[in-house]
Structures are given as structure tokens and as C-alpha cells.
């Protein structure tokens, strides 16, 4: 029988059935960070248990590490409660012997950036983390999704998860992206089309020439936001782009081992005729840069469009959501997006903090100045290695010359657990993934965009089409 890519990975990890009919699924790789793990480690300790397979775990602090003054390490975290949480991760990793890239390690970074970067993220594996953006790793043809803290403890203790299989969904993206349009615009347009719950209960496989033409980093951006359409996991089939990315990564297999793995990995595609329960398609060729205007990621428009009117939505629930969103965002229907004045710019997050994101932003910024109306414009590289690579290429200088701040790696203003945040009613162009109320700070107003659009908007002081700066 023809199988989808998801079916294949699932089938290769079924340990058995529990008496209640659920499936015990084996987990190959477990990523940990400071926010969703302490209670899991505590549970493990209280039950007198230890990790089932130590080598399956990789940890790093990312959510509430500061992005400035990092030389002092953990002691440099001003917020005592945040500091305690990072220390708890150090303590737990040391106690149980789990590999960690701690705050002072040059490899530290956002957990979803470092997994692929280090070669810990491999095709055909099952990957989980106590973070919903674990879907990122699906770009490698890996089944990757977020879990709660109880499940973090469950995976630590048993190396398995108790699961019910999702349905299969395919999102086909055809056409050639125009200049100034990126993976972020593709995924924002997909979410706009599907809605925030359009893929709930499904694993999405992204197919089509527009996806195949994306680099691994672009594919990661797309898979990263699968959860924003309700899908726990997103997948892209393995091809040469995947294999080329993996080769030579520190934790990836080498030599004969790699050849053997590659042979297996090449089969990680959906069979012709495999059945998908849901299907949708998107024409990437006609896509324009996207910008969100509301308080959930499905509320997006083209950059040259206007703020929509609530009564333009057919569904009364969506009309109500739009009405509330306009009020929270301080917007009126009919306002052109490019006339919205901005207060802060954030380039970073597990969605858009990799080297290609920084290059795309730097290309727009080069030789220009950040608008004086802005209160801040920050670039937060996704990891130590991304930061080092950008500095080697001189990107940091481009950003600094323009008036951006060049920070140290972490989740930063994506969720504002550290000091990087919006203040009430401040409006931001952000390359992150969620525009929920208060996400980037109490009463803050977040608009989701690509790195190039964020950069163009930083120069203009209001939303701007990056194509005007190319």
C-alpha cells in the first residue's frame, strides 16, 4: 500500500499498543530548554527515575537568556527568577548527565536553530521538545512536534510518547517566488488560507516546486509555523538539498555510516498515490510580501493592502475576532498597511534568525539608516554559530552602521520572557511567529513579517515593501 512520508516515519517508530488502544511511539531525539523542563526533571527525581537513553537528549537555555552583556554568564541575568530557571537547567543536566550547550557555550542558541545546525536533527527520526515550534525540524523529513511538560518527563523516563496518529494533509505550493518574497511569506499566506485551526489533527506535508526550490533554512521557516495552522507537525520530503545540508555537521553521521543513512533517507518521500485526507494548494508565483494585522497569525494581508473591515468576514465568529483584533491593535478598517507607524523592529526567533534571514535583511539595510522615529531595532541571531558566521561576513557591521542593535542569541522578543519587549500600545514589525495579545509585551502590538520586510520597515519607520529597497 502506498504510504505518505508521515506514515513511513510513524510506522518505523511504533513500539506497540497500550491496553487503552493508544500507540507507544519511540522518540529518537529529545531537545530541552529551561522553561518547560524543570517540572519534568523534578517529577523524574521524585519518582526515583533516570533518563532512559541519555544520548537522545540535547539541552540549551534560550527562552529567557538576556541578549546583552553575556560575558557574565548566568550571573549576568538580572531577573532573579529567570536566573534561577537557567541555573535549574544547568543543575538538572549536570545531575543526570545530559549534554547541554549552556549559556557560555559558543554553540548555545535557540533550540530549533541549534538542532539542525549541529546535525542533531536527522531525516526519518522522531524529534520532540517542550516547545510548539518543534515542527521546525520537519523540514528534514523528521517527525517533529511540541509536547507539554508531562510528556517531557514521559520521554525522559521511557524514551517514548503515547500517541494517537494524526491524519495526513498535503499543502502544495507551486510557482516561482518573485523577488522580495520569501519562505515566511509562503507560510503566512498558507496560514491566512487555512486559518489557525485549519490543520488541527493533521500532519502537513509541504510539496510542490516552490517548496523544493527553498533552501533548508527556508523549509525550516515554513515547517516552523505549521503549528500556527493547528498542525502539530509539518514535513518536507528528503532530497539533495536536505542531504547536502547535513553532511559535515558535528553530530551527523560520517563516512560509511553517512552513506548507509543517506540510502535510507532517500526513501523518505511519500509514495506516488499515497492518500492524503486533506489537500490545499497555493500559487507562490503571485505572492506578495505578507504582513499580519490582527491578533492571530491567520489575519494577514499583502503589504500593499489595507486593514480589512470586520464585516468583510462571512463567518460571525471571525467577524467578532476581527473586531476585537482591530480594537486591540489600535487600527481602523481601510488604513493602508504601509502607513502604519512603527515603534520597534525585531529580527530574530526560531522562525527567522538563521544566516540567510540575516543576509536578506542586511541586503535591504546596506548603506541605509534606521528611521529616527523608531525606539529600537534589534537583530538577534539564532545561535552562537549564526552570529559568528554573520560577523565573518560583515553583516553585523551593516546592521550597526544602519542603527540596529546587534545582540546575542536567544528567543528574545519573540515571547519577551527576557528584557527585550514591547511596552503598551507600541507597534512592532517582527520576524517571529505569533501576534497574540501581549505576546511581545503587555498590550504590545505585533505584526508578523519576513526579515526583508522587517528591514525595509525599519528604514521607512512604517511598513514598507522590501522590493522598493532592492
Amino acid at each position: 500500500m502506498s504510504k505518505t512520508l508521515y506514515d513511513k516515519i510513524w510506522d518505523a517508530h511504533v513500539v506497540g499498543q497500550r491496553s487503552d488502544g493508544t500507540t507507544i511511539l519511540y522518540i529518537d531525539q529529545h531537545l530541552l530548554h529551561e522553561v518547560t523542563s524543570p517540572q519534568a526533571f523534578e517529577g523524574l527525581r521524585l519518582a526515583g527515575r533516570s533518563p532512559w537513553r541519555l544520548g537522545a537528549n540535547l539541552a540549551t537555555p534560550d527562552h529567557n537568556v538576556p541578549t546583552k552583556n553575556r560575558a557574565a554568564g548566568v550571573d549576568g541575568i538580572e531577573d532573579p527568577i529567570a536566573r534561577e530557571q537557567v541555573i535549574a537547567l544547568d543543575r538538572n543536566c549536570n545531575h543526570f548527565g545530559i549534554r547541554q550547550f549552556d549559556m557560555t557555550d559558543p554553540r548555545q542558541g535557540i533550540v530549533h536553530v541549534i538542532g539542525p545546525e549541529q546535525g542533531a536533527t536527522l531525516p526519518g527520526t522522531t524529534i520532540v521538545c517542550g516547545d510548539s515550534h518543534t515542527s521546525t525540524h520537519g523540514a528534514f523529513g523528521a517527525l517533529a512536534h511540541g509536547i507539554g511538560t508531562s510528556e517531557v518527563e514521559h520521554v525522559l523516563a521511557t524514551q517514548c510518547l503515547v500517541q494517537t496518529k494524526s491524519r495526513n494533509m498535503r499543502v502544495e505550493v507551486q510557482g516561482k517566488l518573485r523577488e522580495g518574497v520569501y519562505a515566511k511569506d509562503i507560510v503566512l499566506a498558507i496560514i491566512g488560507e487555512l486559518g489557525t485551526a485549519g490543520a488541527t489533527g493533521h500532519t502537513i506535508e509541504y510539496t510542490g516546486d516552490a517548496i523544493q526550490s527553498l533552501s533548508m533554512e527556508g523549509r525550516m521557516t515554513v515547517c516552523n509555523m505549521s503549528i500556527e495552522a493547528g498542525a502539530r507537525a509539518g514535513l518536507v520530503a528528503v532530497d539533495d538539498v536536505t542531504l547536502n545540508y547535513i553532511e559535515g555537521r558535528p553530530l551527523a553521521p560520517e563516512g560509511e555510516r553517512l552513506e548507509m543513512a543517506e540510502q535510507y533517507w532517500r526513501g523518505l518521500v511519500s509514495d506516488p498515490g499515497a492518500n492524503f485526507d486533506l489537500f490545499t494548494e497555493l500559487d507562490a508565483g503571485s505572492l506578495k510580501p505578507q504582513v499580519s494585522w490582527g491578533t492571530n497569525p491567520e489575519l494577514v494581508v499583502d503589504i500593499d493592502d489595507v486593514v480589512p473591515a470586520p464585516d468583510s468576514f462571512d463567518d460571525p465568529a471571525k467577524e467578532e475576532t476581527a473586531f476585537r483584533a482591530l480594537e486591540y491593535m489600535g487600527l481602523e478598517p481601510g488604513m493602508p498597511m504601509t502607513e502604519l507607524q512603527l515603534d520597534r523592529i525585531f529580527i530574530g526567533s526560531c522562525t527567522n534568525s538563521r544566516i540567510e534571514d540575516l543576509r536578506a535583511a542586511a541586503e535591504v539595510v546596506k548603506g541605509r539608516k534606521v528611521s529616527s522615529v523608531l525606539k529600537s531595532a534589534i537583530v538577534v541571531p539564532g545561535s552562537g554559530p549564526v552570529k559568528a558566521e554573520a560577523e565573518q561576513e560583515g553583516l553585523n557591521q551593516i546592521f550597526l552602521d544602519a542603527g540596529f542593535e546587534w545582540r546575542d542569541p536567544g528567543c528574545s522578543m519573540c515571547l519577551a520572557m527576557n528584557a527585550d519587549r514591547l511596552y503598551p500600545e507600541e507597534r512592532a514589525a517582527s520576524t517571529s511567529n505569533r501576534n497574540f495579545e501581549g505576546r511581545q509585551g503587555h498590550l504590545g502590538r505585533t505584526h508578523l513579517v519576513s526579515p526583508a520586510t522587517a528591514a525595509a520597515s525599519a528604514i521607512a519607520g512604517h511598513f514598507a515593501d522590501p522590493r522598493e529597497f532592492m
Binding site: P38, Q85, G124, H154, G201, R434, L443
Partner: protein, 216 residues
């Protein structure tokens, strides 16, 4: 985990779609390394007008009287009635901990986000899915002058309103059994420890590279 069988309580209707976990428990409260202490900051940005912080005295805060949970009718509620895609967004289990600690034992909605739904069962909180029509009906009843009291019977899979209406609901048997008995989820999986070891032997043969860092 406390077993969940028959539960009687009053209902608060939260008439918003896509209630995300950032709203249920805002990020500044996730810095705690404990499993408790989240209840008083449930829906913090909606319940209070001032910005919440860990350790802020709730008695000194500015209450948002317009928010439904602050309505005198809905004090002491333990069943939350919501709209579609409840619990979307972040995987933070702290959202479920906050609801539980606040006293919520059951959330009723037309649909839930996957990770939130899953997290509920790990904490003895019962999420019930009904069709929109029944949800609308419940909203009508719950927004009356007096709070609606209902009984949830998990074993019989029935929701009873004033012993008159008896509405059946569906639940996956694999979800139901552990909740009814309050079973330790990890303990249940440990019964399959031999299966896991056998699987690892086969898996290591098929994909040896996955185990390359086990002696790291």
C-alpha cells in the same frame, strides 16, 4: 493525578474563539520552576488592568470588571465553556496547571488545539468537545441571570443539566480510562519496558546512526 468520574459544578461562558495559551497564562509567569502558583495569574491580562508580574499582590491589582471571570455570577466556577480552537499556540502545560489551580476541572468547546488537549489529560482536567449547536445552546443557558450548574459524568459520557437534559459526548477510550482511574501515565508505559528494549535492538540495526551519541 486525581481520578475524574462524576463532577458537578457551575459554568463560566468565555465567548471568544482561538483562546491561546499566551492568554491563559502569560509568559512572565513561566519562569517558575514549580508546578504550582499559576492559578492566581490565569487569564492575567484579561482579569486585571495592570500588568501582572510574579509575586505581585493580587489584592493590590486593578481588576477588569468587564471580564467574565470577574462577574459576580461566575465566582467559584469550575467548568469553562469556550469557543473553537481553545488552547491554541504555545505548548506550555502551565496553561493547564493555571486552569486546574484556579479550580477548573472541565473545559467544554467545539474544538481544541492538539497540544493543549493532550496536556489536559495529563493533569486530570477533562476537555469535552460538542458540536457548535450544542455549544450555542450551552452559551444561551450559561449567560442567564444565574450561573448554570451542570453535572459531568465521564464514565457514562453524559453531561446533565438540571437533571433534565442529558447530552452524550464522545471521548477516545484511550483517553478516558487513565482519567477515570487517575493512573500514572509513565507507570503505564513502563509496563512495556521490554517492548521498548526489543524495539531499540531492532531500531539500532535499522538506523544505527541514531545511537551514535549514546556514549557521549
Amino acid at each position: 493525578m486525581d481520578p475524574f468520574n462524576v463532577y458537578r459544578g457551575t459554568v463560566v461562558p468565555l465567548d471568544r474563539a482561538n483562546v491561546d495559551t499566551d492568554q491563559i497564562i502569560p509568559k512572565q509567569f513561566l519562569k517558575s520552576i514549580k508546578r504550582t502558583g499559576f492559578g492566581e495569574n490565569l487569564f492575567d491580562a484579561w482579569r486585571f488592568k495592570d500588568e501582572g508580574e510574579i509575586g505581585k499582590n493580587p489584592n493590590e491589582r486593578e481588576i477588569n470588571r468587564e471580564f467574565i471571570l470577574n462577574d459576580p455570577r461566575y465566582q467559584g466556577v469550575s467548568i469553562l465553556l469556550g469557543r473553537q480552537n481553545f488552547g491554541c499556540g504555545s505548548s506550555r502545560e502551565h496553561a493547564v496547571w493555571a486552569l486546574s489551580e484556579f479550580g477548573i476541572r472541565c473545559v467544554i468547546a467545539p474544538s481544541f488545539a492538539d497540544i493543549f488537549y493532550n496536556n489536559c489529560f495529563k493533569n486530570g482536567l477533562l476537555p469535552i468537545v460538542f458540536k457548535e449547536k450544542i455549544i450555542d445552546y450551552l452559551f444561551d443557558l450559561a449567560t442567564g441571570p444565574r450561573a448554570l450548574e451542570i453535572e459531568v459524568n465521564l464514565e457514562r459520557q453524559r453531561l446533565t443539566i438540571d437533571s433534565a437534559d442529558d447530552i452524550p459526548f464522545d471521548i477516545n477510550p484511550g483517553r478516558k480510562a487513565p482519567l477515570l482511574l487517575g493512573l500514572d501515565d509513565i507507570g503505564m508505559t513502563f509496563k512495556h519496558a521490554d517492548d521498548i528494549r526489543d524495539f531499540e535492538v531492532r531500531h539500532r540495526q535499522a538506523m544505527p546512526w541514531i545511537f551514535d551519541h549514546d556514549e557521549a
